[in-house]
Amino acid sequence: MADYEKLRPEITPLHEPFWDSVKRHQVELQRCDSCGAFRFIPTELCRCGSAASTWTPIAGTGEVYTYTVVHRAPTPAYQAEAPYVIAHVTVDEGPRMISVVVGCDPTDVHIGMPVTLVYEDVAPDLTLYKFTPAG
């Protein structure tokens, strides 16, 4: 794990609660205190205009909205895993989240496929979230 050679997110104060929740293996997204809408990526304001929000756990289930299968990857560390799937997933709470889909053959992924969140501790100080076919 010490040799993690892939890209790391730069964690700004605004994004820190999100990455902390990933590290705890329980993703939390901002939920607007005013209109109740969940949002992702982290932002200062809800689209309703309210600045008040609470980091709230999500169920971790959703379905594939769109995806691609990457065959030529940007760095050698990623190329070692190609082909891999990157999917946009609409989570049950509403927002769209993007990550790789693991645990199935890339050719099995399709739009509308139910998926669940899984976590991977890739380095002592970094956990990533990924998706895997539900059930």
């Binding site: 997110p9 730069e10 689209r47 691609t68 940007p74 760095t75 891999y84 990157i86 989240m97 990550s99």
Partner: protein
């Protein structure tokens, strides 16, 4: 507010890789060519817009080579919409009545930069460790998680979404777009590549990010393009041979992406394009079906297909049928990317948005040589910068 704005001078450098050439020399050469085409020198220019993404802030350095006269210079960057923005700042000064004559230059020297997005950031550094920078660096470029920083993947996702939501769109339709554009490029001496590919060759090529294969991806490269634009009032004072070749800018529109559900974690290039298109058609009083040619932002063949629909070139949801029926071919209903498009002509980032005005302008003047679209009267240019920005210009033949 001033009256209409016209292009009276235009020039473009062949796109490609020119390691022996300096970027500022390329830009200066083309700026002078556009000035000569307009019968002008820098002494006539009131304002300059200069677009380059990788060498931002170069406008004055170009003027030091071709004539530094103390005029305002706007150095602009806006991702792949940079060039169109350079034109638009000069256009706005003329529209506002502040200036009468403007010069817009777009250039870029990229060489062979690999996969755009992440790769550009990795270049020159230890390729195994990438140091993200900046606030948005934390969300977009973490490959796989929170999206792909890789452009072929981003535009592949947009394609898969369109294919899922509309009938008759699949891998073959996206590949047909590339087949068409490469065929067009054979006629264009300014194109980086001029090689025709059969549909089978496109479909059997190396997959980069499904459904984008290698010939469906725009190459990186070097290029420069420039236009000289004037107010209608100024145009009246110019010689007959300049007025005869003038091209009217009937619409110049820019939008950014409004809030959409799909535009938070990943980019939404559809909504801002639709908004800009509707506004441009209204501003110009032009119907999409009136268009004689379109140069649209096909950084990937998948993007082009989606924009047939976004720009209303086809019936809603019918982009697959449009390419199946050869609608965007040179001899089709609305020729699209007769230059070869970004996938073949090339995409030197800051240059592209100026070059597509030059391309359409050449056709409207009847000066496009072997690739001339006969009797072209109205054309549209479109660029997208991720983030997102859309810029559309509608150009019309005057005489």
């Amino acid at each position: 507010m001033s009256d209409d704005v016209f292009i009276i001078g235009l020039a473009q450098h062949k796109f490609g890789r020119f390691p022996e050439k300096d970027s500022l020399d390329m830009a200066s050469e083309i700026a002078m060519a556009a000035l000569a085409d307009a019968g002008m020198t820098m002494a006539d220019i009131d304002v300059m817009g200069c677009g380059s993404l990788l060498e931002a802030g170069s406008g004055q350095r170009i003027l030091h080579q071709i004539g530094a006269t103390g005029i305002p210079v706007y150095n602009v960057t806006n991702a792949c919409a940079t060039g169109a923005n350079a034109v638009r700042v000069a256009y706005m000064e003329i529209k506002a009545g502040i200036s009468q004559v403007g010069l817009a230059v777009g250039f870029e020297k990229m060489g062979k930069s690999g996969l755009l997005g992440l790769a550009a950031k990795v270049a020159g550094a230890d390729k195994k460790v990438w140091a993200p920078a900046g606030r948005t660096g934390s969300v977009m470029p973490t490959e796989g998680v929170l999206g792909s920083g890789m452009m072929p993947a981003v535009f592949a996702e947009i394609a898969m979404e369109y294919a899922n939501n509309n009938d008759g769109v699949g891998f073959e339709q996206f590949a047909k777009v590339a087949e068409k554009s490469h065929a067009h490029s054979v006629l264009n001496p300014y194109s980086q590549y001029r090689k025709a590919f059969s549909l089978e060759e496109v479909m059997n090529a190396e997959v980069i990010a499904w459904p984008n294969t290698l010939p469906m991806c725009g190459p990186t490269g070097d290029g420069a393009a420039a236009v000289v634009i004037v107010s209608g009032e100024k145009l009246k004072t110019l010689p007959d041979d300049v007025r005869k070749r003038a091209v009217k800018i009937s619409a110049s529109v820019m939008t950014s992406d409004p809030w959409t559900a799909g535009g938070q974690a990943g980019p939404d290039v559809n909504t801002c394009t639709r908004m800009a298109a509707d506004k441009a058609y209204e501003m110009a009083g032009v119907d999409p079906q009136d268009l004689d040619l379109v140069e649209l932002h096909d950084c990937f063949a998948t993007a082009e297909l989606v924009h047939y629909d976004n720009l209303r070139l086809c019936e809603p949801g019918m982009a697959g049928k449009f390419i199946d029926e050869r609608g965007p071919w040179r001899d089709g209903k609305i020729p699209v990317n007769v230059s070869g498009g970004l996938v073949s002509k090339g995409h030197p980032l800051g240059c592209t948005g100026v070059a597509n005005l030059v391309e359409v302008g050449m056709h409207l003047r009847g000066e496009a040589g072997d690739r001339q679209i006969p009797d072209a009267k109205v054309g549209l240019t479109h660029v997208i910068g991720l983030g997102s920005t859309c810029a559309i210009h509608i150009l019309e033949k005057v005489s």
